[in-house]
Symmetry: C2
């Protein structure tokens, strides 16, 4: 009987942040692709688009005029998934099968830049620092509202990720409850901290640094890597070297280092297929429930859908929806590919 | 303070099959859509396509000739995600952070019909019965292999669901471990059975039948409904009225009734947007681990991506990936829409 080879044999890997498994089929990347191709826009965008409801000075759906903002700009989502209003709630709805609870919250949109044609990798490190400062302000303000216990900062980038406007922007959904995924991570982080007295991600980072295979980028304060248990082909995580739970805990130096690694990582992404690389990203951090959370360790996830090229994505469908996430190429291979890519954005290259 | 209205106010609903929540934002279906549109193929397919590797008599990627099959036809996936080979496994891989285990299994493809241009809703009830009999045979045969503990039967339909060939076909991934989602459901079903002595889904079905709002279709042996906790807009579940755990437990009469409701439900789906309706579907049933599973209750999930039209889908992206699933329209509204649709396939309608 041959020995198990993690680089070539089908296997499952364990995700200690969600207490779940992922199926890895390294050999499967070789199969031919005859399926759907995504369309990519090669359109050159204007610096200001008069039809864009996010550009400075333009009118939004509800008639509001955006100010002539210069850095980042935040407003409440005109089509919010959550509402601030408090409603009375009858306990009898708590039926075993028809269990429902009202949910209060606030949804906001954050324009990253007044420029319609830029994305994070094309913005200056200083401008990205400005975005981080806005995230800090929002996390603090929203988090201080009594009924808000969780602040989810995220970005959907690219039409393939359901983003309907190329103007660089992200969102914040702040709400009373901890969403499923955060609750699961919280449980895992807490159990680990109680057992070991250190944060799970601090110890994970040590193990990854020693190993090296999955590290993509590193600076004094942050590491970007492909987690051992990544489900999306080029999924990455940015982890702070120091253990702290909240974006508001960042020192000035750390803020700068975070801005830098954000720029560098997204440049590598764009360089992978010489395209504006789509993804959903978001920050996982301590709940804003007024409790101590020594178990939390600041990190940011990037979930990009592309697999083979700018137009062929990985479909998380039948088996994945009914069974479990499955990937066709190892995290180690993908990390090597990202590591080798240039640090200079493909649009800035002089040939 | 106004009273909570489940039809209009944002709320969370609890899924007792996964022990998870879903965020429901009923009012949000009104927002305008400027995002990505899926392309739909209006191409009329031939009955036999000489370039299709699934059509009878044609050659596959590995050089094999398909037989001139007449009903359904099963073969091992030429690009299988799982392999049958047993490998030796060193225990020391069980590191806290680098936990991996080899996974053995078999992946198969099932052609539903020799006809390249048909899909389930366009096939006869007898032909669908043939597909069910093939599923039974495969579940039994694969399940009897010693190292196979779970048999996942599923279908990805439509290019938007990653299906690369319109020839009607499904897949089976059989493997040693219980995939995440199945393990979660098993835990929930078991806890319920141990507490109540009845299956969770038998009792759920009673509650839904009494309520009526979410029922889409019903016959003597099966019900098709939109679960109270559905995440995809037009997600449905087919549940057997009798409590049994395995597709091989179906009586002849139940097999016929299952074929009928499969045809009727998929006709309604096609009629929703007058298009060949994309979805991923799959059967959840008892593991093949040689244990008794009185807690299991046969059911089939349909996860369709479309939301507003044949070309606008619901994106499960940023918030959903990082936080929790979110839907923009209530299950009750969607069930009513499906219920009202004609039982005659739009292609067969004489105007
Ligand atoms: O096996 P297929 O049809 O080539 O592949 C399709 O279904 C699989 C199982 O859900 C997925 O893993 C693939 O991403 C998808 O493209
Ligand atoms: O709010 P947007 O950008 O209109 O909407 C997008 O992001 C949301 C949050 O991930 C999703 O619920 C939507 O399906 C998606 O289209």
């Amino acid at each position: 009987m041959k020995n198990f080879d993690i680089n070539t044999d089908p296997h499952r890997r364990f995700n200690p942040l969600l207490n779940e498994w992922v199926l890895v089929s390294p050999h499967r990347a070789q199969r031919p692709w005859q399926g759907q191709n995504e369309s990519i826009s090669t359109e050159v965008l204007p610096k200001h688009d008069e039809n864009c409801y996010l550009c400075p000075g333009n009118v939004r759906a509800n008639g509001t005029h955006n100010p002539k903002y210069e850095g980042s700009y935040v407003f409440e989502n005109d089509f919010a998934a959550l509402k601030q209003e408090e409603v009375m709630y009858e306990e009898e709805i708590k039926h075993t099968f028809f269990k429902a609870e009202p949910e209060r919250g606030i949804s906001k949109v954050i324009c990253f830049s007044p420029r319609h044609d830029l994305t994070l990798p094309e913005m200056s490190v200083e401008a990205i620092e400005g975005v981080i400062k806005t995230w800090q302000k929002e996390y603090k303000e929203l988090g201080s509202i009594k009924y808000i216990n969780h602040v989810q900062i995220f970005e959907n980038k690219g039409s393939v990720m359901g983003c309907s406007n190329p103007h660089p922007h992200g969102q914040i959904w702040a709400q009373s409850s901890l969403p499923n995924q955060v609750q699961k991570t919280q449980n895992c982080l807490k159990a680990y901290y109680e057992k070991n007295g250190t944060t799970l991600l601090a110890d994970y980072l040590k193990a990854e640094s020693k190993n090296g295979q999955r590290i993509v980028l590193e600076n004094d304060h942050f590491v970007a890597l492909i987690p051992f248990w990544a489900t999306w082909p080029y999924e990455t995580m940015i982890i702070s070297k120091r253990s702290f739970g909240r974006i508001t805990d960042l020192t000035d130096e750390e803020t700068k280092a975070y801005a830098k690694i954000l720029k560098q990582l997204t440049i590598k992404y764009d360089n992978l297929f010489n395209t504006s690389f789509p993804y959903s990203s978001g920050i996982h951090q301590a709940p804003t429930d007024n409790m101590e959370h020594p178990e939390w360790h600041f990190h940011m996830h990037f979930y990009p859908p592309l697999l083979r090229s700018a137009t062929v994505k990985k479909f998380m469908v039948g088996y994945e929806m009914l069974g479990e996430s499955q990937r066709d190429i190892t995290p180690e291979t993908c990390a090597e590919v990202l590591r080798e890519l240039s640090d200079i954005h493909y649009k800035d290259r002089v040939e």
